[in-house]
């Protein structure tokens, strides 16, 4: 009884403090969440309103009669079905290309000794410092001078090499214990067989992390598709499609917002499903 009291006496100020800090945390987080989500919430609501309802005063905070036809109009009238397909194609090409070239190069740097290895590695790392924005003058000329222009490849080939991918995957290959490689050599397993059968399965977590960030980067690209597809409707991606949809306001803002929602849903799903991989690749080992 006495000991019980003593415990309570010691515990109560701490408890109230802990409860207060818990309360403050929830308060901060809830306020933050409201601020972050409010624009998205209003966008979703407005994407389901008629043009008249959108202009209404005071504004509507819920759709009284959800206008799902805005989504249909965005798809058909706004050509979003074409753009969506282009974005899917663009993303698949960039991701498959950059994952493949990065896997091969990373494996090579991690596994073999060869002349000029240090120089080539330094060259790879140097490209990490070059922002794509400062290369567009010449890249635009390069692509314009090839027959790639006017095809999806013009949008994707420039991004099929990734220094970040090589960097992340090389770390992963280096982390494989040397005994595993030696054991496979004793078994008479050649380097490429080792690569496909042993090494790739072992780096799967890092491979997944890089794939997720590659998908995100490709899908959300703005500058390069803007350069190439502003006047090329057949290859226009979703992000640029949003711009054209927005500037041709005859469709109504509900339709434009419906388009924006269509463009963001795939990445939101990706984020929810692959949150761990996303965080891993965004931090990329840079955080101590």
């Amino acid at each position: 009884m006495t000991s019980d009291l003593a415990v309570r006496e010691v515990a109560s100020p701490k408890n109230s403090r802990a409860r207060r800090s818990k309360f403050v945390s929830y308060l901060v987080l809830t306020l933050g969440a409201i601020v972050v989500l409010f624009p998205l919430y209003m966008a979703i609501v407005s994407s389901l309103l008629t043009p008249v309802q959108i202009g209404q005063q005071p504004p509507l905070f819920y759709p009284p009669s959800p206008q799902w036809r805005n989504y249909g109009d965005a798809f058909i009238g706004g050509h979003l079905s074409t753009y969506l397909w282009n974005s899917v194609l663009q993303t698949v090409e960039i991701v498959v290309g950059s994952v493949l070239t990065s896997l091969l190069a990373a494996f090579s740097f991690a596994t073999f000794e060869f002349p000029l290895k240090k120089v080539l590695w330094a060259l790879m790392l140097a490209t990490l410092l070059i922002p794509f924005e400062v290369t567009i003058v010449t890249n635009y000329q390069t692509i314009s001078s090839t027959h790639l222009l006017g095809s999806m490849w013009a949008l994707t080939v420039p991004f099929m090499g990734s220094a970040i991918g090589i960097f992340l995957l090389r770390q992963a290959f280096l982390a494989i214990p040397g005994e595993i490689r030696e054991a496979t050599i004793l078994d008479g397993c050649g380097p490429m067989r080792y690569f496909w059968r042993v090494a790739i399965p072992l780096v799967r977590p890092q491979l997944a992390a890089f794939t997720v960030i590659a998908v995100l980067g490709a899908w959300n690209q703005y500058l390069w598709p803007l350069l190439l597809t502003s006047n090329d409707e057949a290859h226009r991606t979703l992000q640029i499609g949003l711009k054209t949809l927005n500037s041709g306001t005859f469709e109504g803002y509900g339709v434009v917002l419906a388009g924006a929602m269509i463009a963001s849903v795939p990445m939101l799903i990706l984020m929810v499903v692959f949150n761990r991989q996303l965080v891993r690749s965004l931090t990329g080992g840079a955080i101590k």
Partner: protein, 296 residues
């Protein structure tokens, strides 16, 4: 044991595996980057097809002392100052608040991460709609929308910054959360047991321990901010951007490639912008070495 022939075939294989990535990175990053340093020496011909005229360094100095460049520099700087410090601070506060084993934390984490996966086009459309005078929200809040925010030379840059800030909070939150998870739990616990108030523990323990992450997030934010132009392009456009003081340097590069092609000037701005980012990155690293607490 390995014979010379084996070694040689291994070298060939190693180089073949590197080749695809190396060729792509060389053609689409290294070559165009260094090409800037020859392009910037030539005036664009008055008509396409005519030979370019040698300009020497004068074109570079003319460009970076021109009014439009200085306006672009100012817009870029104001935008960066508006977005990065607030974004770093909010990301830090939210991640510290979420760094507890409490119910519902996973939901909050997901909510904050949503902005990091939203594209600039989506963010611009979502916010641009509310800045539109035709729609009800701003007039209802009592904000005068004539001229609209996007046509207002004073406020347009703030509108651009809110969009950038919204996007940056998510990334800032994710990076800080990862940084917090890598901190030694005992130290934070010890501060609590010593009776430090949450606020005191935050300033005397969490922030110093987190300083490498803070500088990393800061650098990432500044570099991203310096290359911003998406919301300017989508909501304002190349013609009006200069009139409302949001014609950032990255946007000017785009304009000199497409809307008024001039490879020489585009290369000059590219070089200047690259030098600026390099300075920021190096300055951050120097600062990081001197001031940041790495002894964990």
């Amino acid at each position: 044991m390995t014979t010379v022939r084996q070694r040689r075939s291994e070298t060939v294989l190693a180089l073949c595996l590197i080749a695809p990535a190396l060729v792509l990175l060389t053609v689409f990053l290294l070559y165009p980057f260094f090409k800037n340093f020859t392009l910037f020496l030539y005036h664009a011909p008055p008509y396409p097809g005519l030979p370019s005229k040698w300009a020497g360094f004068s074109q570079f100095f003319d460009t970076i002392s021109s009014t439009s460049f200085l306006e672009g520099l100012t817009a870029t700087a104001i935008y960066t100052v508006l977005v990065v410090p607030i974004g770093v601070f909010l990301g830090l506060v939210l991640s510290v608040a979420a760094h507890q084993k409490l119910k519902g934390m996973a939901i909050y984490r997901t909510i904050f991460a949503t902005t990091a996966v939203s594209s600039v086009a989506v963010a611009a459309i979502v916010f641009g709609t509310f800045m539109n005078p035709v729609l009800g929200l701003l007039p209802w809040l009592g904000i005068d929308t004539n001229p609209t925010i996007l046509q207002n030379p004073t406020w347009a840059i703030f509108a651009m910054a809110i969009i950038g800030l919204w996007q940056f909070i998510g990334l800032s939150f994710i990076l800080f959360s990862a940084g917090l998870q890598s901190l030694p739990e005992e130290v934070l616990e010890a501060a609590k047991l010593d009776g430090a108030s949450p606020a005191k523990a935050f300033f005397t323990v969490t922030i110093p321990l987190l300083s490498p992450t803070i500088f990393y997030v800061f650098t990432v934010g500044v570099i991203a901010a310096m290359f911003t132009f998406g919301q300017m392009d989508l909501l304002i456009g190349p013609g009006a951007a200069s009139a409302v003081h949001v014609n950032t340097l990255a946007y000017q590069i785009y304009q000199y490639v497409v809307t008024q092609p001039n490879p020489g000037v585009a290369a000059c701005i590219s070089i200047a912008l690259f030098i600026l980012t390099a300075i920021v990155t190096l300055a951050n690293f120097r600062f990081l070495e001197r001031r940041v607490n790495y002894d964990v």
